[in-house]
Symmetry: C2
Subunit: 479 residues, 2 copies
């Protein structure tokens, strides 16, 4: 899965980041000087300066004046990761939506610091370029093309998407893609394609509340499987569950899981797909954060390992290019014809103007450049936010260390009621996403998901500090 | 319910059309001369010429050179109306979607004469003006407004819609409107809001196949109630049904029903709403053709008579302004909060660019002018098509006489298999919508819905002639 179009300096930065992860460059170690690196790698000084600048932005190295660049300690021991939490294993009827709805509505106010929001800062997206693309595309389109908009979506957009999949090592069948009203619709259609009311569906624990809402809406039962903040779903627990009970489907986010940020290693993704294939259980793969990796290259989706057409891969442009345009898709494997039919029944077709705008934008060729900038900004801001949380939150707070995206998952000391904390923070004009949202049985009561995708928002530092103070005050009150 | 913004000549034409319906101006009678009408009404000759031109376009009068204008015979007796067909009254599990899907896909080819299509001709819609509005709106919008797109939809668009409802005599509660991905999504959300799997829902007979598909998707049972081609649902049969069995909801199109074109008179709409309120049964009112009336003014929706908040009114811009933009809405009465929550769960929000384009277009003020032109074109083409059908189809063919829209419903002689006819016509490059699509138990086997919303398409005359010949040939073969 080659990463297309990376510049020389990005490649260099990625290689050095990998060397740090592999322990070849250790915390506190001085990096080779710019001059040395130029000589060794046969690159220009400006390439090295840009690479070091990128590593600094990502929080991986520090520049010390008149001394050089040093590998930053990632303080793996200073803050422990949140713990894997084994959930109840019996199926649960789902009813989380009232709370989710109330909380989401409460974060709409632009005056509120959006740490509970689901989207990164608006200024990170190329809305002007998209608007120009939209205007150009709509001037050019023929009326008959508009009235004849296909259920499966605009042909040029599907072609462009299929090309990206292929370049990422995931060949798709010609008619496999269906464009949807955001990934949310894709996920809902896929879920309906593989279940009937009363069925049991396995989700991660914690899991994205929209998955729980979708199950609730379709009268399905959820079984939660423990999910490690780094490694993703516990495969042993899943295998045991599949041996014990009839399961209609799994709905997982193997890449940059929401809320944990877990990135399942490729070997584990492959094992997951093989395990589910043995049991004939389809995998609904929610991959909306896949483009926001902080790693060297895009992690392959589980879909890349699918031989049997059992993986229904869902994604969108809403988190990485065009929020509000509601352009998502499903590559639904052997379920594709059924998903397309359900799409026709549910909403006939997806709006054409946003599809044409994005297809034109992709054809202009700026998408990968935009993504590289976006990844670097989010990675830098994540580092910054983690440092602030370490400074301001009570001792014993555990923080996730996701390999991309823009969420941090906090496990506060058990005495902190995160829902109460959320309400107190809202009164101060700060939203959060309390942990109870992320489980059907309202576990994760002392957990918070924080959106740290707002680089440049001057209110964030103060908001994190005040959140930490609220948590400390609550701890003091119960002691 | 005053019709806003009608010009003087349109008012004059409407008054004369009403006089014809009331029998005050009889078939064959000569209209007052232009000079006489100028004097009597105190209007200019050009106003009278325009009014007479409009009546001619609508097929209501004929111009005879050097003689004047004459009321055209509407040949009520030449072709009988299709008959009211009492359906089976037990609930039926629904499985019409495979056929509907296959047929719809087969009509996508632009080389096929689209008599089976669901949309009028593309040239009837102001796509250029919409594209300009879209470009202007997207240049002006703030990024935070895009990322913060609300589940309920763009505030300005909702405000404009609410204003139109109010002007049509239907005041809405402030938060009643939810913008959806076309009316199809609105109808699906409303249906889900008022049912659980296994429930019985009453539909018209014949009914729109998408209603049957929606029921199928949500594991609901359909009971069909006979629907008169002119007067709409048989209220006595409905009352009897409600007394006999538990019904979760009705899904009706009281205004320009698809496929019949029936326009339920206002008094009957009022009686329907009262009957359902007595039984506590919600009405899902599909009103997507409401703006395409051929009458003097917009017929009130059933929603206009709702006191109890039990009418969930669904409509869209897809048939009257902007196909392919997928902007619809639900005004769901007391179910509005639930519908909004289901919208969030199902697709989070509706794409913003098409909403902003339409909101800007509405603000420019050309919508009512566009609608008047569209209605006149469709009414004229319907008259033309009915004459062609009378000329070319076998004796005994009954044709609907809808009060607007762009569908004709044909009841062919019983020996004609309309599905076979459809397949033969497709082989000649002509699509139709065979009657079996419009019932869960595949009634209406010798019926066809024809789209006559393609004024100016030179292929239509020949296609109608060839369809008629195919029907005659099939009749000859079975005799």
């Amino acid at each position: 899965m080659p990463d297309q179009g990376n510049t020389r300096y990005e490649q260099l930065a990625d290689e050095m980041a990998q060397a740090m992860r592999d322990g070849l460059l250790q915390a506190g170690e001085r990096l080779p000087s710019v001059r040395q690196t130029c000589q060794r790698r046969g690159v220009s000084p400006s390439t090295v300066f840009q690479a070091y600048g990128l590593l600094e932005t990502r929080g991986l190295i520090d520049a010390r004046p008149r001394s050089g660049y040093y590998v930053r300690a990632q303080k793996r021991s200073a803050r422990a990761l949140p713990q894997l939490a084994p959930p109840r294993t019996e199926a649960t009827a789902v009813a989380v939506s009232a709370l989710a709805f109330e909380l989401l509505e409460s974060t709409r106010d632009p005056a509120v610091v959006p740490l509970g929001s689901a989207f990164p800062a608006a200024h990170l997206f190329p809305f002007d370029a998209l608007a120009r693309s939209g205007a150009r595309a709509m001037r050019r389109v023929k009326p008959a093309q508009i009235t004849g908009a296909l259920t499966a979506g605009d042909a040029a957009l599907r072609q462009a998407l299929r090309r990206r999949y292929t370049l990422q090592g995931v060949p798709l069948a010609e008619d496999e893609l269906v464009i949807t009203n955001g990934a949310m619709e894709a996920l809902n259609l896929c879920l309906q394609a593989v279940t009937v009311p009363g069925d049991v569906v396995v989700v991660e624990s914690p899991t994205f509340y929209a998955a729980l809402q979708a199950l609730e809406r379709l009268n399905l039962k959820a079984v939660e499987v423990a999910t490690d903040p780094q490694e993703g779903v516990d495969l042993a627990a899943l295998a045991e569950l599949l041996a014990r009970q009839k399961v209609a489907a799994c709905w997982f986010m193997p890449t940059l899981q929401n809320p944990l940020g877990a990135l399942m290693p490729s070997a584990r993704k492959q094992a997951l797909v093989a395990l589910l294939a043995r049991h004939g259980v389809p995998l609904i793969e929610d991959d909306v954060y896949g483009e926001l990796y902080a790693d060297v290259r895009r992690p392959p989706p589980a879909k890349a390992f699918d031989q049997a057409g059992g993986v229904l891969h869902c994604a969108s442009f809403s988190k990485c290019l065009a929020p509000g345009y509601r352009v998502g898709w499903a590559a639904a494997g052997r379920y594709a014809p059924l998903v397309q039919r359900l799409k026709m029944m549910t909403s006939l077709a997806t709006a054409l103007p946003p599809q044409l705008a994005i297809a034109d934008y992709l054809a202009q060729g700026g998408y990968d450049r935009h993504l590289r900038r976006l990844r670097a900004e989010l990675a830098g801001e994540q580092q910054r936010a983690r440092r602030l949380i370490e400074r301001h939150f009570p001792a014993g707070t555990r923080v996730s260390r996701p390999a991309g995206g823009y969420f941090l998952w906090l496990e506060l000391p058990p005495a902190v009621d995160a829902l109460a904390l959320h309400h107190r923070a809202m009164a101060l004009g700060i939203s959060t996403a309390p942990g109870v949202l992320f489980s059907a049985d309202r576990r994760f009561v002392h957990h918070l998901r924080l959106n740290v995708g707002h680089p440049g928002d001057a209110r964030v530092d103060d908001a994190l500090r005040r959140l930490g103070e609220l948590a400390i005050a609550e701890l003091a009150a119960v002691r």
